[in-house]
Amino acid sequence: MTGALAGVRVLDLADQQGAFAGKLLAGLGADVVLVEPPEGSPLRSIPPFWQGVEDPERSLFFWFYNAGKRGITLDWRRPEGAERLRRLAARADVVIETEPPGTLAALGLRALNPRLVIASITPFGQTGPYRAWRASDTVAQAMGGMMFVNGHRDGPPLRALGLQAYHQAGILAAVGVVSALLARDTTGRGQDVDVSLQAAVAGALEHVPGLWHQMGLVASRQGTLHWTRYFRVGRCRDGWVMHCTLGDWTSLVEWMKADGMGAELDDPGLEDIKTRQAEADRLFAALDAWAARYTVEELVEGAQLRRIPYAAVRPPEALLRDPHLAERGFFVPIEHPDLGLTVPYPGAPFRLADAPWRVARPPRLGEHNDEVLG
């Protein structure tokens, strides 16, 4: 079996702002060729490095975003390199780029190949008053409305874990690319996919714009209390747990009563989820008092048996030892022969039964120059 996008040829000129798009397309089976300047992609100098040794072949940051791509070196900012890039683009289906608006258009790739899909990922998009403005992942998270609602009431807004502006932009660029390829089946022509980091973040919000449109409400930070007021972090004997007052409420109260607690929650009015939402503070205080007698594992196991969506609050590394993910084979061991190392890469974000996700080693600098440029 081959991947869903087998046979699709992608040239990836993106820096870290757009690297996730090519990673997703490579996972789907496209032939993604990372085009690096002769000195190497800027991602190769971003830590962490394998064993802390700074080296272009040892950046875990580069590895994560470029697993499954082939790699060539080509200085397309100089005339000779630009000519080679044009020749490659003439045979490609997709180009992904993160240059300031207008820069790539000057190369005239579209005129050479009218079927080409060009995906551009920039801080604010190709149009509009801020199109030339700059952003980091954090600045894009801020301007897209993600940060304001993350954090404690009395603390500052907090950025997400992971580069979520870049990741959302990468996902939407991949969505746009496959959409454009589908449209090309009908029109015979490629098109431009214009992705703004800011808009990608704004498109990955939940309540923030909706409640403003609906009732002019400005959502605020409220710590771990979810905006719906059905979830909040609480403390067990040995760690943090995510409480949930959705699910089988009756069973939850029965369980507490069996422990001789929760009398104040034995109230038929609370069977209505709207009441539980309104009285969230009182509910979570009672749940905290009760949860303190359990370990996180005991509480989550008991809740899941009753179909109450509780979960442990864990560090990301807990995933590496998660028996569920192990049985599903989420992490895929990939050899890095030069380093004598096997690396467990996070694998498929979703599984197409008839078109498996592809995980492979990231390219060494210029590794595929001969086969691609030769």
């Binding site: 149009t127 801020y130 580069l163 909706g210 995510m242 864990r314 979703f350």
Partner: protein, 393 residues
């Protein structure tokens, strides 16, 4: 034209993650038919706002799937659909007889997307989850916090958006695959895995180097740099995000803030020095921002070529941001009742076959008659009888 013209999606999804997937498909031109039931979570006005943003451009049919006649209608609709999608826990569609093995009997090239919390296999496959619990399991809740601080995490279900947008990619890839091979397939999307897939390099770091992840506040995750974070500005709850990585960016920053004495401090002259003394640097930057309007400081720094951005609240985002407005990110949509509602539009632009909002959110069961007559050829009497029997809403 739009890229998914002619594609029909039978949509059993609810809450947020699944509707995010199918709203993108609707924006791309697919005919999305929501199969709804009574008693789902209620976010208020179904036309606009939060619900309308989730359900924009979809049609709605209210069916009692516990009644064999309701289930029969669902099966007949599946037989004339390209994609069937749900986000229940794993056993629900199997118990209803609407899983892939059943659907493929109805249509050989069906694309069946199961957006569960934990996937269709594995020991936790029957566990129940929502976005916040998946974020807790994958590290976001614990690590989005100030250094040494208690967990804060996302104030909302980001996991639903990550899973929803990746779900749209999965459907598009499966449609492309079917065009090339003629084959449909089962898509197993575990939201635990979609949200784990966007964690980034941290998993490689922990796998290879061990150690324990600790919260790092607003420190940079893409390269060492300082100043990096959010700084309080004049007024209540006004903050500016600023990012400086390179020495060239630092010089531009120093120029923009007027070459204050602290910007000439030798400890801040190099990137390594700025990162080492980030806490002290942050205090100076905050002193500078505190007396300024966030919008003015942002414009001043951006004009100098420094990445700076307002920490936008809902009003900044929806009512004041000139960039999103210029790009038409939020749209006004007329409703059949003669109202106009505001909702979010598609967050990406296709130059030739643009995605676009097809309409407002549907009322519950609004399109039952046109769907049953138009797609299944049912007559008015038959539809009325089903409605009288409570099978159809």
């Amino acid at each position: 034209m739009r890229p998914l013209d002619g594609i029909r999606v039978l949509d059993f999804t609810w809450v947020v993650a699944g509707p995010v997937t199918t709203r993108i498909l609707a924006d791309l031109g697919a005919d999305v038919i929501k199969v709804e039931r009574r008693g789902s979570l209620d976010f208020g006005d179904r036309r606009g706002g939060l619900s309308g943003t989730l359900m924009r451009g979809k049609r709605s049919v209210l069916l009692d799937l516990n009644d064999p006649r309701g289930l029969d209608i669902a099966r007949r609709l599946a037989a004339v659909s390209d994609v069937v999608i749900d986000n229940f826990s794993a056993r629900v569609m199997t118990n209803l007889g609407l899983d892939y093995d059943a659907l493929v009997q109805l249509r050989l090239d069906i694309i069946c997307v199961r957006m569960t919390g934990f996937g269709l296999t594995g020991p936790d496959r029957d566990h129940v989850s929502y976005g916040p619990t998946l974020q807790a399991l994958t590290g976001y809740t614990l690590l989005m916090a100030e250094p040494d601080g208690p967990p804060a995490g996302f104030g909302y279900s980001y996991s639903d958006l990550a899973g929803g947008n990746l779900g749209a990619l999965a459907v598009l890839a499966a449609i492309w695959h079917r065009r090339r091979t003629g084959r449909g397939q089962l898509v197993d999307l575990a939201q635990l895995e979609t949200v784990a897939s966007v964690l980034g390099p941290v998993l490689l770091d922990r796998a290879l180097h061990g150690g324990a992840s600790v919260p790092a506040g607003n420190a940079s995750q893409e390269a060492p740099g300082a100043p990096h974070g959010v700084y309080p500005c004049a007024g209540e709850e006004r903050w500016l995000a600023i990012t400086v990585f390179t020495d060239a960016e630092w010089e531009r920053f120093a120029g923009a803030v007027g070459g204050a004495a602290w910007t000439r401090d030798a400890r801040f002259a190099t990137r390594a020095g700025r990162v080492r003394h980030a806490a002290e640097l942050d205090r100076h930057v905050a002193e500078w921002t505190r007396g300024r309007q966030a919008e003015e400081a942002m414009a001043l720094l951006q004009r100098a070529g420094v990445a700076a951005g307002l920490v936008a609240n809902a009003e900044d985002l929806c009512a004041r941001d000139p960039q999103l407005a210029a790009r038409g990110h939020f749209v006004e949509v007329p409703t059949p009742e003669g109202r106009t509602v505001r909702i979010d539009g598609p967050p990406f632009v296709l130059s030739e076959t643009p995605a676009a909002v097809s309409g407002p959110g549907p009322l519950l069961g609004e399109h039952a008659d046109e769907v049953l007559s138009g797609l299944l050829g049912m007559g008015a009497e038959e539809i009325a009888a089903l409605r009288a029997a409570g099978v159809l809403g």
